[in-house]
Symmetry: C2
Subunit: 334 residues, 2 copies
């Protein structure tokens, strides 16, 4: 069998997996930002009776759109990997209910989309299925009341706080076909530098992003300049600068090719989003429209998508714990 | 490449994956039940300051013990799949923190162990890694205060309620070696029959167990009598009887070879556990000691472990939603 493992954490796919279809569904505020999406709702309830149901609705819509864009009929879909931030991942479970494909629930906080893309790639390259989906979502309102304060309270935000993106992204991965392809995967370890400020998740996740990117460069014997776009999702403005600094300290310049989904999704000066966007939906909506769409238009040829997650909860914060960070990465080429 | 997919939901591993080591760590009440475990704590805090930290501690201990029993040094471990019931799966994230292996967080409620075993099997059979771990846990006290009432409240329990198991199970899966082997995997769809009583999760999960078992029998052209033990984990006494009835309605007798981890773990009459055990730890501690240990002693040769999960949350229940059930299955032979 061909060698599939590179170094300690990276995997080379014998047969690159095609991102045959991808779609992003977002809320009003995200639609008012600088990026374009497949669907922008003027109403963040998406016609549902609760924020949680709205989040499920976004996932359903994103998956339907991705399937349609992939020209993929529902019965072709063989596996769904999905996750979100809501307790017990109910946004995903209720979104997938009624589908005919097996469901694998994931929890990787904001790294969930990268985790789903990674596992779907391994399942396809391993020869188990030909078509799988990766989906993730977040909703500002469901996240605020769960992690922070009731919306009605109008709690003040710190400058390092990130704004949870209302949106869902979905990608359809296939064993063959035309489209950007996942060629390599790098799975991340938990990295915890002792940051315990739940309003500064970028700082907690930056060391994990650094760890995974560094492992990937070493495992594949490549360097940042070998890629057209290196994208973390989502460190926000604070974490993004920290990652640049962590690499600069080692003499590595990430350069203009580096950006972060949390920094890209809003116009911070105009939209009052402090350190930028966050949430399982942030990386996935930026990837599943702006980035993969840009690759199809030949704007970028080789992209690293490094999904970063802060694996804390309000309970762990209350108990004085620091924030474990994680980062999973997929290398996409077209 | 060899055909790996059987029917709609099942997978045949080209090279069966060995369960090289497995261990269960449980609390006091579980230790007083009819089954034996690797380690029984006389103190459900496991020496930690909170129930959540105690749950992480159990996972760490179970994984250490499983690694030792597999004769596996820490650096050999290439991937960890883990999950639990606590919001944002913090028991797993904090348990894995400090390990050198990449971590993939799962949420499948009480089906998590089966989900982890399935994904680890696919990763190994796909040729990506040679050694992976699947871990899951639950803790009565962390679950009660999160899902139901503060312990101090002394809330009364309904007859259909299940008792969340305090315990963690861990299994080390390897590409080769001696031990019981996972030969097939069946991944489940979400099945929702409209049950909305959060105190009757067995009824919500039984249709999912029926769906996955039936799919597996069809996909593999086998019948219940072809197995020495068919184990759901964890429907409890109510769900177990419903599953027997669902199969009986179709003329299929599951027979004495069928049992449920939730029904097995406690002596209900003596331990006042109503409909039996539940929680991500229930199936995993029964599997990782009683069942896999029994297979090593040649008590059973062909076992189906069907992990069942109720994908609800207190919020979904409050919003009037029914309970989506799921069931993933692994076929283990020795």
């Amino acid at each position: 069998m061909a060698v599939k493992k590179l170094g300690n954490q990276s995997f080379l796919l014998s047969n690159p997996v095609t991102l045959a279809g991808f779609a992003s569904v977002v809320g009003k505020k995200e639609g008012e930002g600088p990026l374009e999406f497949d669907y922008v709702s003027s109403d963040d309830t998406f016609g549902e009776k609760s924020w949680e149901k709205a989040e499920s609705r976004m996932q359903r819509d994103a998956l339907d759109r991705a399937l349609a864009k992939a020209g993929c009929a529902e019965p072709e879909l063989e596996l769904i990997f999905a996750g979100d931030l809501i307790n017990q991942c109910i946004a995903s479970a209720f979104a997938v209910r009624g589908r005919n494909a097996p469901f694998l629930g994931l929890y990787g906080a904001c790294s969930t989309m990268a985790e789903g893309l990674s596992l779907a790639s391994l399942a396809i390259d391993g020869g188990f299925v030909d078509c799988a989906a990766a989906v993730s979502s977040s909703h500002f309102c469901s996240a605020e009341r769960q992690y922070r304060f009731p919306l009605e309270y109008g709690g003040q935000r710190t400058p390092t706080a990130q704004w949870t993106v209302t949106g869902a992204g979905a990608a359809i991965l296939k064993a063959c076909g035309d489209g950007p392809r996942i060629t390599k995967v790098c799975l991340g370890k938990i990295v915890d530098f002792g940051i315990n400020d739940a309003n500064n998740m970028g700082a907690a996740m930056a060391p994990a992003a650094h760890d995974t990117l560094k492992a990937f460069f070493a495992d594949t014997d490549t360097k940042p300049a070998d890629y057209d776009l290196i994208l973390t999702g989502d460190l926000g403005n604070v974490g993004k600068q920290l990652l640049v600094d962590l690499f600069a300290d080692e003499g590595t310049d990430l350069g203009a090719r580096y950006d972060d989904c949390g920094s890209m999704i809003y116009d911070g000066a105009r939209q009052d989003t402090h350190a930028g966007g966050s949430g399982c939906g942030c990386g996935s909506v930026v990837l599943c429209c702006h980035v993969l769409g840009g690759m199809r238009k030949r704007r970028w040829r080789r992209v690293l998508f490094a999904g970063t997650g802060a694996l804390m909860s309000p309970v762990s914060t209350q108990q004085g714990e620091s924030i474990p960070g994680i980062c999973h990465l997929v290398c996409i080429e077209y």
